[in-house]
Structure formats: structure tokens, C-alpha cells
Amino acid sequence: MALIKLRNLSKTYDLGEVKVHALKEVSIDIKEGEFVALIGPSGSGKSTLMNTLGCLDRPTTGSYCLADEEVADLNADKLAQVRNQRIGFVFQNFNLLARTTALENVEVPLLYNPACPRRERKSRAAEFLKRVGLGERMDHKPNQLSGGQQQRVAIARALVNRPPILLCDEPTGNLDSRTSREIMELFAKLNGIEGLTVILVTHDLDVARRANRALVLIDGKVLVDTTDFNRAAEALHRRALTDDDDSATGEQASSE
């Protein structure tokens, strides 16, 4: 049974004079425990798909079932609850609260989880910080941490409510290659050992290769759905060539 089920999902932005079709009739299934990479050039609709999967945005048409629950039917409060307990977000720019300690940052999702009593918050946040290897730096503020450490804090924060899904938006975009590898290894471990469903959004094929399945998104459509990353690479390469021919950017290509 699929944990995530998208059927003919479209997202259209109405900009007045033009309508931008960011996603066109996307249908995918993601099973529990998968490690999926969403690959595509900028403007391909990756971010829109990511926001929709993360319940930050609603589809214009089509259906999104998360664990057999139709997300389009949920109100704002229910969506917030889904984001709080079912999905963990990891962002490219970490998005930690400034001038707030690592521990307090990890505590934030627990504040919005009524199932976590106040007295357990600190110990639980500390436990997750230890799991990402930052047990020694709980009282450090983001500006006292390296990029890799900040991303680890963000990952601890994403995990602290024990969600089944981890949504990572270009998580290594701001990191050097060595730190990137460490972070990707952490994701692989979370997927392999803990059975977490990891959805990774990236434009970088090398990063994507750590996943088990690739979804290549171009012009708002899933062009390739494969476990063979060479096929994904080919599709992206072909796309890059046509782009050069048209000398058109991704944004323009996806608008009508």
C-alpha cells in the first residue's frame, strides 16, 4: 500500500494575465520506507511538488492521499497537524531560528505537539540532538555552528516528532562536498536502519544517487520514474541540450 498517492495532480498559479502550470497531471505512488530523489532543473516544478507533498500548499486539481487521507479535504489546522506529526522538513538554508540554541530549535515542533508533555520536551530534544551527533553542542546558537552542524540540528528538529516521512529540499545545497556526503549518509542510515520514508529534492544527480529511486521532473511532468540513475541522467542531459537550443529558461518553458 502506498504511503503517498498522487493522482492527476495539477497546480496552476494564476498571475492575472498568464496562468502558470507548475504541475501537470502528476501521478505517483511512494511506498513506506522508500528513498526517493526528485530531480529536475530549476523551474521544473520541484518546489511546487515538494510544497504540495509537505502540505504547505494545496493542489489546484487532482488528489493527494497521505496514508489514505485526502489532504485536499483538510482544513488549515489539520494541515498544520500533518506537518507537525507526519512530515519532517529539512531545508536548503536550514531555517533555524536565529539567536536560539540548538536545543530550543529542536524543541519547536514539540511545542506544537499536544501529545508531548512539557517536562519531556527537553529530554526528547536532547535525545535527538545526540542521535545526529550534536550532544556536545546543545547550547550553541546557529551562528556558533558550522553549516553541517546547523543542518544536523535541522534534521534533529525534523525527526523529533517521529514522523514517518522526511522531506528534504536541496539539503546539501549550502554545504561543501565532504559535509554533503556526511549528511547524505545520515539520510541513508535513517532510511535503511529506521525505515523512514525519505523524499529528497535536488538538482544534483550525484547527491540523488544515494536514493533508491529517481523521479525526473521536467516542465511540471514526471518524465522518468526509475531505479536506474543512468536513465535519469540521460533524461536530464537531453533536457539540458534542448534548453541550449531554445536558449529558454526553465521558468519560461513551464509557462503558457
Binding site: L56, D77, A80, A98, P109, L111, Y112, P114
Partner: protein, 413 residues
């Protein structure tokens, strides 16, 4: 996420921007401080007026002669009141408790080797202590016997006693008034100054008969004023009516003519004075309240800036599971905490300023006694009011924050 969490978060956030938070609450601090000062000063002033009228006597009604007019010719103020009028009032008016005739005189008093001029030298009746609510610190007041005999006795105020007899007990001492020897038989309790700063203890009291017969050498029974004490404040208006009716009858005032006397009710005057002071205080408080509104607008302004600045934080919180109402509450609590802190500081500052002004007034006007009274309910109301300012002016920014689109908010820089 309950109120405690919200309080902790808002205090932490405000603590990160101490200077800005401080400057933001300044408006509320000034507003609440001025309201507190004004309300307290108003209370002290009202208290002062009440004390003064209490000092004057209990439920005092003053009967005084007025310019009589006949055939259109004003014949000036004439002595139309007699001691018989005074006795009639106390005998025939059921709402009257006591009366005292009143004859004013002036002069020097010599005691030992000191020559002193009391502000007031009065001839009064034996019920003067009841009427003027005066008590004695030593000795006794003169009685009907001394009145009848026109005895050369006197009762002196605290100031006179201190001036003439700094070292000895004044009771039993001899003083000379207009070359007549008087025996001091009592000393009045200290009263302090009245509203206009006049020392009420610089006084010498004699039987009114003595003043008339021995000092003024008069054969008539006219008196300057009659002091009347009503049985209670409630019946003071009725007492006034009874006196007017009685004296109109006694003086045979023709119907339609103005009577040759006037009746003044101090309770009414006190009421008017208190009302004026109350109105004045209310007006000043109103002006002070305007500064509170300005302070509230300041909070709203900074909260709006804060929402814009922290758009990304709002987006992150929403992505991590904050509901719109959680964001609304967070910002609302923040502005309420801000304004309540301002309110608390304002109350403290206001009480401080008020204490300073009271001290200053008492120093400049040593004869008046301004009381310092901090009203706890008023302080609580001020604090609640400042919290209300926070809710009122914080709601719009908080609502704006809660309505942000999480995706847009996450993209903000």
C-alpha cells in the same frame, strides 16, 4: 502550547531585542505613569478638601447677616443676628444639634513677656467644640456659667500656646487682652492649616459675652455669625430649610423680599469643591490617557515591524506544525507582555512621581497636610488597562502574522 509556553517564548524574544523592547514600552510607561500620577493627585486633593471641611466642623451651617434692602436702598451689612436667634435655632429646629454664636475681634495678647497677635480672636459659645469639631489637649472649655458671667477666661490654640508659654503649662496662666487680664483655662488640639494655608492653631477663644461686654463695651446683643451643626450630613439640607423658615419668621421678612440673613451650608460647598477637583482630575487623566493611546500605537507599529522582520520565523514555525491560531497567540501574548511590562513600570514610575510631588507640596506648603495614598485596586485597573492596550493594538499585527502563507513566509529573507 499553552500560555506558559507563550509567555516564555515572548519573554525570550523580547529579551533578544532589549533596547527596542524598552523604547517600545516607553510610550505605555509614560501613559500609565501620567494617569497614575494624575489619579493619585486628584485623590489626595479631594482628601485634602474633605479633611479641611471636617476640620471646619461636622455638617456646619453658617448663618450670617446680609445687606438689607428696603425700598431699593441698600443699607450695607448690618448686625441683624442676635444671640436669641442662636438659641431659637437650637431650641426649635429639630435637625440642629448645636449652635455657637460667633463674634470676631482682633488685637494682641500678652503673656509673660511675649506680645503676640493671633490670626483669630473670637467670642464663641460653650458648644463651640461640638460645632467646630475642636477638642482640647489640656484644660477645659468654658461653660454656660462663664458665658452668663462674662468671665475673663480664654482657650488658646496650639500656636498661641507655643508662642506665649514655650516652657510652662499654659493652663492657669494669665494673659492680657486689651489690658484686661484673662485666665487660660484650656488649650486646643492641634489642627494644622486650612485650605488657603491659614494656621488654624493661631487662635484665641473667649466667651462671646465677654467680648461684647468687656472688649467692645456694647450694650446690644448682636452677634457676627451663628455657627450651626446639623445632626447629620443627611439632614443638613433640612436643617438649612428649618433655619431659614425660623429666622424669616423671627425677623419678619416680608413675603417676596430678600431676607436680612444668609445661610451657607458647608457640606454643599464641600460637595461643589470635591466635584470641581474630581472634574479637574478627570480632565487631566483624560489628557494623560491620550498618551496611553499614543503608546499603544507605538506598540502596534513595532509589532508590525516585528512581523515583517520575522516572516521567515513565522514560515518555519508553520512548516513545523504551528496552526494560524498558534502564531496569532504568540504575537498577541508578545504585545500584551510588552504593554503589561510597560504598565508595571509606569505604575511604579507614576507612584514615584506622585510621592515626589506630595513631598514637594508638603515642603512648599508646610501648613497643609497632603496625604499620600496608593490605591491597590487603581493599580490593578491600570495594569489591566495596559494589558488591554496590548490586546487592542497587538491584535491587528498578530492577525496579519497568522494569515501569512507558509510558502511565501519561508521564502522571505
Amino acid at each position: 502550547m499553552d500560555l506558559l509556553d507563550l509567555l516564555v517564548i515572548s519573554l525570550r524574544t523580547l529579551g533578544k531585542n532589549k533596547l527596542r523592547s524598552g523604547l517600545t514600552v516607553l510610550g505605555v510607561v509614560i501613559g500609565i505613569a501620567s494617569v497614575t500620577t494624575m489619579v493619585s493627585l486628584g485623590q489626595s486633593a479631594s482628601q485634602l478638601i474633605q479633611d479641611q471641611f471636617q476640620n471646619l466642623g461636622s455638617n456646619v451651617i453658617i448663618v450670617l447677616p446680609s445687606a438689607s434692602q428696603s425700598g431699593g436702598v441698600r443699607s450695607g451689612t448690618v448686625m441683624t443676628l442676635t444671640e436669641a436667634d442662636a438659641f431659637a435655632i437650637v431650641d426649635e429646629c429639630p435637625s440642629v444639634l448645636a449652635v455657637s454664636p460667633f463674634i470676631g475681634t482682633a488685637g494682641q495678647v500678652i503673656g509673660g513677656n511675649v506680645n503676640w497677635k493671633p490670626d483669630q480672636m473670637l467670642g464663641v459659645g460653650p458648644d463651640y467644640p461640638i460645632v467646630r469639631k475642636a477638642s482640647l489637649s489640656a484644660g477645659a472649655f468654658f461653660t454656660q456659667r462663664e458665658i452668663t458671667a462674662a468671665s475673663k477666661v480664654c482657650v488658646i490654640g496650639y500656636t498661641v500656646a507655643r508662642q506665649l508659654f514655650p516652657d510652662v503649662d499654659p493652663v492657669g496662666q494669665q494673659v492680657r487682652v486689651k489690658n484686661l487680664p484673662f485666665t487660660v483655662i484650656g488649650v486646643l488640639e492641634r489642627k494644622g492649616a486650612n485650605m488657603v494655608g491659614q494656621d488654624q492653631d493661631n487662635i484665641l477663644l473667649m466667651p462671646y459675652t465677654t467680648v461684647r461686654k468687656r472688649l467692645q463695651n456694647s450694650a446690644f446683643s448682636n452677634i457676627d455669625l451663628i455657627f450651626v451643626s446639623a445632626r447629620s450630613e443627611a439632614v443638613s439640607t433640612r436643617a438649612e430649610e428649618e433655619i431659614k423658615a425660623l429666622l424669616n419668621e423671627r425677623h419678619r421678612t416680608p413675603p417676596g423680599e430678600k431676607p436680612d440673613f444668609e445661610v451657607r451650608n458647608t457640606a454643599e460647598v464641600a460637595g461643589v469643591m470635591t466635584a470641581i477637583m474630581g472634574g479637574l482630575a478627570a480632565m487631566l487623566t483624560g489628557i494623560a490617557a491620550i498618551s496611553l493611546v499614543v503608546g499603544g500605537v507605538g506598540i502596534m507599529n513595532i509589532m508590525l515591524v516585528s512581523v515583517t522582520e520575522r516572516t521567515r520565523e513565522i514560515g518555519v514555525r508553520m512548516a513545523l506544525g504551528a496552526r494560524p491560531r498558534d502564531i496569532l497567540r504568540q504575537f498577541l501574548v508578545e504585545s500584551v507582555v510588552l504593554s503589561s511590562i510597560g504598565g508595571a513600570i509606569g505604575i511604579a514610575l507614576g507612584v514615584g512621581i506622585y510621592a515626589g510631588i506630595i513631598a514637594l507640596l508638603n515642603a512648599i506648603l508646610p501648613t497643609t497636610k497632603w496625604s499620600f495614598q496608593v490605591s491597590i485596586p487603581a493599580a490593578i485597573i491600570a495594569l489591566l488597562f495596559s494589558a488591554a492596550v496590548g490586546i487592542f493594538f497587538g491584535y491587528y499585527p498578530a492577525r496579519r502574522a497568522s494569515r501569512l502563507d507558509p510558502i511565501e513566509a519561508l521564502r522571505a529573507d
